[in-house]
């Protein structure tokens, strides 16, 4: 159980900075996810927290103590790696007890800790096997067992589910969530999969190019993205992002399409300003195949393709010079090339600055401010 703080954390490789002065505070027992595209610096940040990378600038604090110069052991952290990193020549029991044997913990106490961890992760029948005799999911559980057996103050996960198939990933997500509830420890979880981040974390930290783009709960980053990048990264399918120019009370897009400027954006997006309109696929749907909308805006659009998912269908269509995605509930057959009336729920649209991508107006703010619905 520990608090974690990153104060102006910097990592440089020669003249190149890969992590640019990150500030972050993690409360005791909080589950925080660092998420972002490949190369954004999330794994490097995790490794600096663990003590596996030297810190070029700033500080890592665990329980309000600066730990920059401490070894991983002295920081009392445990880590689960993407490739499991199990010692191939040792049995599961030996893998899990390795750290305690190094610390010369009495044998009886080692046995007790190993048995307890094995019980939590259902590893009992596997204790005398070697990693090569285990499946991917079993290896990952052993890796977690090796971490929890030491009762560390901080758990670190570096994309632990990346090597698993989709079904196993879902099972292991539940396992990790159960583990967090069981051990009540502070956890820092690195992933490029935003679904993992959304389902597991108390708070999500979205990173890009060595900076933190936004920090918030899953609901906050989903409903109130502070930048175009966050809006496009969080959510599956991704948010539709349409670049256009404000003309009066409308946004004009390339190709001649236009939509009304959302009511909550009027006053912040002046005439002639370049903007980006963001709408989640849930808020765009063929007429009559979505949730109730106060002031629907309807446009005829050509269908490019459909992806039936059973209870819903994802419809790709061409609009505003971009390929957009709509989510169709109570699906009916649609063929590619057909023209369909598409409803846009602009009261749920986000408006970002066309230059730097910063949020200009969001529906969350509009709801709280009591802004009336967008006229069609």
């Amino acid at each position: 159980m520990a608090t974690l703080a990153l104060r102006g954390l910097i990592k440089s490789y020669g003249p190149v900075d890969v992590v640019h002065g990150i500030d972050l505070e993690v409360a005791d027992r909080e589950f925080i996810a660092l998420v972002g595209p490949s190369g954004c610096g999330k794994s490097t940040t995790l490794r600096m927290i663990a003590g596996l990378e030297d810190i070029s600038g700033g500080a890592v604090e665990i329980d309000d103590e600066v730990v920059n110069d401490r070894t991983p052991r002295e920081r009392n952290v445990a880590m689960v790696f993407q490739s499991y990193a199990l010692y191939p020549h040792m049995t599961v029991r030996q893998n899990m007890s390795f750290s305690m044997r190094l610390a010369k913990v009495p044998r009886a106490e080692i046995e007790r800790h190993v048995e307890e961890a094995a019980r939590v992760l259902q590893l009992g029948p596997l204790l005398d096997r070697r990693p090569s005799e285990l499946s991917g999911g079993q290896r990952q559980r052993v890796a977690m067992g090796r971490a929890i057996v030491r009762k560390p103050s901080l758990f670190l996960f570096d994309e632990p589910l990346s090597n698993l198939d989709a079904k196993l990933r879902a099972e292991m997500r539940a396992e990790i969530k159960r583990l967090h509830a069981a051990v009540e420890s502070t956890m820092v979880y690195v992933t490029h999969d935003q679904i993992e981040a959304m389902t597991l974390a108390d708070r999500i930290v979205i990173m890009r190019d060595g900076h933190i783009e936004q920090t918030g709960t899953p609901e906050q980053v989903f409903n109130a993205p502070q930048s175009r990048f966050v809006a496009g990264f969080i959510g599956s399918p991704t948010m539709n992002l349409l670049d256009g120019t404000v003309r009066g009370n409308d946004i004009e897009f390339p190709g001649g399409d236009s939509l009304p400027l959302p009511a909550h954006a009027r006053g912040v997006a002046a005439d002639g300003r370049g903007v980006c309109l963001g709408l989640r696929p849930d808020n765009v749907f063929p007429d009559g195949h979505g949730l109730d909308v106060l002031a629907p805006v309807v446009r005829e659009v050509p269908v490019l393709m459909t992806e039936p998912l059973g209870n819903e269908t994802l419809v790709s269509f061409d609009f505003a010079g971009s390929q957009c995605i709509a989510r169709m509930l109570r699906p009916r057959p649609l063929r590619a090339g057909a023209s369909v009336a598409m409803t846009f729920d602009l009261d749920r649209a986000h408006v970002f600055d066309g230059g730097d991508g910063a949020i200009l107006a969001s529906p969350v703010d509009a709801f709280e401010a009591g802004v009336p619905a967008t006229p069609a």
Partner: protein, 263 residues
């Protein structure tokens, strides 16, 4: 594995492989057959095995070979680990200097080695042979072992650090146990080099009681004539221990030499 679907293809492949082996196998076969000639198998082998100093030669060769193998293994694995996994200033330059040593023919090094042995006061001791043989074997074994250790995942060392292991503990408890195949290569290579060495023991040790097994054939050379069949017989007996060691370790050697070739 190469596979041929037709009987003709399989036969042709077998013939080709057999022809390729012949240049290497032929001298061995001739050597063994020659040892049966002259006075015959029993007389030749009795004469050689009856040499009173043979057990002493054998013991000396064993002592020197074991010491060279042990010292080469320790130096090689520590150097390979450092080159492969540690961040050391000028690491690459040091590795290239080590590789440069591979280009020097041992014959060229005899005089400087002899001078060094004399200055260290090691002349006519086992160390006069052990240290130079180790120094000559290490560059090649480091070249092989470094490639092997590079192939071991860095995450294993990270995990060991997280578990509280020092660098040395990670080396001994994690890296070394995973180096079985390359260990076999190092053992056989350095043992071959030490067991079969003739010139350095001849030059650096004068005491007859310290002579090695490769000098056994010279006991059948004389000013007045040479018994060639017994010289050959002595060569066969000298080669036997190495052949036996190789046969035991062959599987590991093949794995060690090809490890890291394919990811």
């Amino acid at each position: 594995m190469l596979e041929f679907r037709t009987p003709a293809g399989r036969i042709a492949f077998q013939v080709l492989v057999t022809l390729l082996i012949v240049p290497f196998l032929y001298p061995l076969v001739v050597m063994v057959m020659t040892s049966f000639k002259g006075q015959g198998f029993v007389a030749n082998y009795s004469a050689v095995l009856g040499q009173p100093l043979l057990p002493r030669f054998f013991v000396n060769s064993t002592i020197i070979s074991v010491a060279v193998v042990a010292l080469t293994y320790v130096c090689t694995m520590m150097a390979a680990f450092a080159f492969a996994k540690l961040r050391i200033p000028w690491k690459n330059l040091m590795f290239y200097v080590l590789l440069a040593a591979l280009t020097l023919p041992p014959a060229v090094l005899m005089v400087p080695l002899f001078t060094t042995v004399l200055k260290l006061g090691l002349f006519d001791t086992y160390w006069a042979v052990i240290l130079p043989l180790t120094a000559l074997a290490v560059p090649f074994t480091v070249l092989l072992a470094r490639t092997y250790v590079i192939g071991l995942p860095d995450e294993l060392l990270d995990a060991a650090k997280i578990d509280g292991a020092t660098t040395f503990q990670a080396f001994v408890m994690i890296i070394l146990p995973l180096c079985g195949p390359i260990t076999a290569v190092i053992v056989v290579w350095s043992m071959l080099a030490a067991w079969n060495e003739y010139m350095i023991p001849l030059l650096f040790m004068q005491d007859p009681a310290k002579q090695v097994i490769t000098q056994l054939p010279s006991y059948f050379l004389s000013e007045y004539g040479s018994d060639e069949t017994k010289i050959i017989t002595a060569s066969v007996i000298t080669s036997l221990p190495i052949i036996i060691v190789y046969l035991f370790l062959q599987r590991f050697i093949e794995r060690g030499l090809t490890a890291g070739a394919v990811k």
